[in-house]
């Protein structure tokens, strides 16, 4: 399953019509120790790049924008008790929510892993 990334450092993995969303290792590192993830409401409908969720660390707070359109059908409850999961495994166990109804065509406006890596180099 390929991962795609946004300029705002979110990632999405698509499996059929289901999309899993999280923030990149880079973003997690920049934020520092995550202290709170504001998970989206179940059933919330978002368009690509709408504000989906929120995330806080000791010294920063960030909005998380949805890489694709869709409806929230699952949230990672583990993050309520253990927000540090995002630091430990931002691109795997630290997933934030799952959306359904994703439009695969939207992926074309995102970066693949290699392009994102290049993008990060450019930011330095």
């Amino acid at each position: 399953m390929s991962m795609y990334f946004t300029k705002e450092h979110e990632w999405v993995k698509v499996d059929g019509a289901q999309a899993t969303v999280g923030i990149s290792e880079h973003a997690a590192h920049e934020l520092g120790d995550i202290t709170f993830v504001e998970l989206p409401q179940m059933g919330k409908i978002v368009k690509q790049f709408d504000t989906l969720a929120g995330i806080e660390s000791v010294k920063a707070a960030s909005d998380i924008y949805s890489p694709v359109s869709g409806k929230v059908i699952q949230v990672n409850d583990k993050l309520e008790e253990a927000p540090e999961l995002v630091n430990e495994s931002a691109e795997d166990l630290g997933w934030i929510c799952k959306l359904e109804g994703a439009d695969l065509a939207e992926l074309s406006s995102l970066m693949d892993a290699a392009a994102y890596a290049q993008y990060l180099k450019g930011l330095e």
Binding site: G32, D33, T35, F36, V58, K59, P83, E84
Partner: protein
């Protein structure tokens, strides 16, 4: 150190309360009574005094340490101001609001009127309200006044513009006053990008909020243009007076084109910081905005006496009475004590001291913007970062050497920012001692950066686990 609750021993009594010289009443009704006495600590007066005396000694403070916290203006708090403020301890504010009460409180009313006039003259504004209880409260009040002005004209304006270097209270206050925020980036020359600002200004913008000198300590020579551009679009201009210490007697925001301003009495006017407050944020306005000021207002009657007048067209009440009167009294004392020549000297020396700091430290620390500074200078620890040392590490090293650190990581648009504001009340000797340690920190960074990661080691506690604090949320000692 133990909490006061941990020193508590059941049955210990504190101070004696007054005697009951009236017949005891029937007991308070059981149904409305609290079930247990409040769990306040039970300690002797000596334990109380020891505890808080020792606790106080765990603080750095202006009276004990050089405290160059940029943007906070940590100047010396004159002791005569404390004496002056204490004189009004027994004055009940409700007296001013009782029918026939005004004549009994002429002294405090005259002081409020007096400090309003002093501040109006210092800032070049037409009228001042002392109601706002802190700078941020002043910002909110000022933006509410602006909102009322536009509303009275039937204008529907949705936005307030702020530079990205602005203090967080600017957008937060505008949001509380009901506005959405447009943020303008800082240009390479160190101030708000004029072109981006021009492009963003239109008939939907209610106001622009500026700090001048800005949070980088830089005076924006285009400040009058910025006001003009706003006025042409029918927007108003707001001046955040946090950095007023740099320009007293030199520039007045009212002359430059600002419609509404606030000042921070606990910064520029030397009232004590109190460990985080109380502050006071009086707001000044130009004539056209006077109708929208909060109610009530202190007025001077024809016979020279002072009264309290309702101000019904205004935004209503933003605090219960006339503001933090005790702080107003101290500021009034400060301004009266210094006089115009004293205040001018304050700004001149504040700017001199900051430029001296900048000149002596620029060899070792990166200056993000190549320009003279005013009363504060901002460095970046970007050079030190190459050796793995952050602004935070330098701050902690300073603590071990007996200095309160400068502000770090603000403003947000400078990486590893270190903002130094010595203020005018510091001597060259003190500054030299601080500079030596800053230079030493730069040397240690090059030679042995790991040493800086452990600092501070001389304080009662070392670096604290802030992540744990935020996750555990232990904010009260359970009783």
């Amino acid at each position: 150190m133990e909490l006061i609750y941990e020193k508590s021993v059941p049955g210990r009594t504190g101070v004696r309360i007054p005697l009951c010289d009236v017949p005891k009443a029937a007991p308070f009704p059981e149904a409305l009574r609290r079930s247990d006495a409040v769990g306040f600590p039970e300690v002797s007066e000596l334990d109380l005094v020891r505890h808080y005396t020792n606790l106080s000694r765990r603080n750095f403070s202006v009276d004990t340490n050089f405290y160059p916290l940029g943007s906070c203006t940590m100047k010396y708090n004159a002791k005569v101001m404390e004496q002056a403020g204490a004189l009004f301890a027994g004055c009940h504010p409700m007296l001013a609001l009782l029918p026939g009460g005004e004549k009994l409180v002429q002294g405090p009313l005259s002081l409020i009127h007096g400090v309003e006039q002093q501040l109006a003259e210092i800032t070049g504004m037409d009228e001042v309200t002392t109601q706002p209880l802190a700078g941020a409260h002043g910002e909110m009040t000022g933006i509410m006044v602006i909102a009322a002005y536009h509303k009275a004209r039937g204008e529907k304006r949705k936005f307030v513009i702020v530079p990205d270097s602005s203090h967080g209270t600017n957008p937060a206050s505008a949001a509380m006053a009901g506005y959405e925020i447009i943020t303008i980036p800082t240009a390479p020359y160190g101030d708000m990008d004029l072109d981006a600002y021009r492009a963003a200004m239109n008939g939907e913008v209610a106001a622009v909020m500026m700090t001048c000198p800005n949070t980088l300590g830089i005076f924006n020579p285009h400040i009058a243009d910025i006001c003009e551009i706003a006025h042409q679009a029918g927007a108003l201009t707001y001046y955040d007076g946090a950095n007023l210490n740099a320009i007293m007697g030199k520039v007045r925001p009212g002359d430059v084109g600002f419609d509404v301003i606030h000042v921070n009495l606990h910064k520029t006017f030397g009232t004590p910081h109190g460990g985080g407050g109380p502050g006071s944020g009086p707001v000044g306005v130009k004539k056209g905005l006077i109708p929208y000021l909060p109610t009530p207002r202190v007025v001077r009657n024809a016979d020279g006496s002072f009264g309290v007048e309702a101000h019904p067209e205004g935004i209503g009440r933003v605090s219960d009475f006339f503001g933090n009167f005790g702080i107003l009294a101290r500021a009034f004392a400060y301004i009266t004590l210094l006089g115009s020549e004293g205040l001018i000297e304050v700004s001149e020396m504040a700017v001199l001291n900051a430029n001296y700091m900048m000149a002596r430290l620029r060899g070792e620390y990166e200056l993000p913007f190549e320009t003279t500074c005013m009363h504060e200078c901002v460095f970046s620890a970007s050079r030190q970062l190459k050796d793995g040392v952050h602004a935070l590490d330098i701050a902690k090293y300073l603590i071990d050497r007996g200095f309160h650190p400068p502000t770090v990581y603000f403003p947000l648009n400078v990486k590893e920012a270190i903002m130094i504001e010595p203020t005018e009340t510091e001597s060259k000797q003190t500054m030299d001692a601080f500079i030596e340690v800053m230079l030493e920190a730069a040397r240690v960074t090059r030679e042995n950066p790991v040493a800086l990661h452990e600092a501070p080691v001389t304080t009662p506690v070392g670096r604290l686990d802030e992540t744990r604090a935020a996750r555990a949320q232990q904010v009260c000692c359970e009783g």
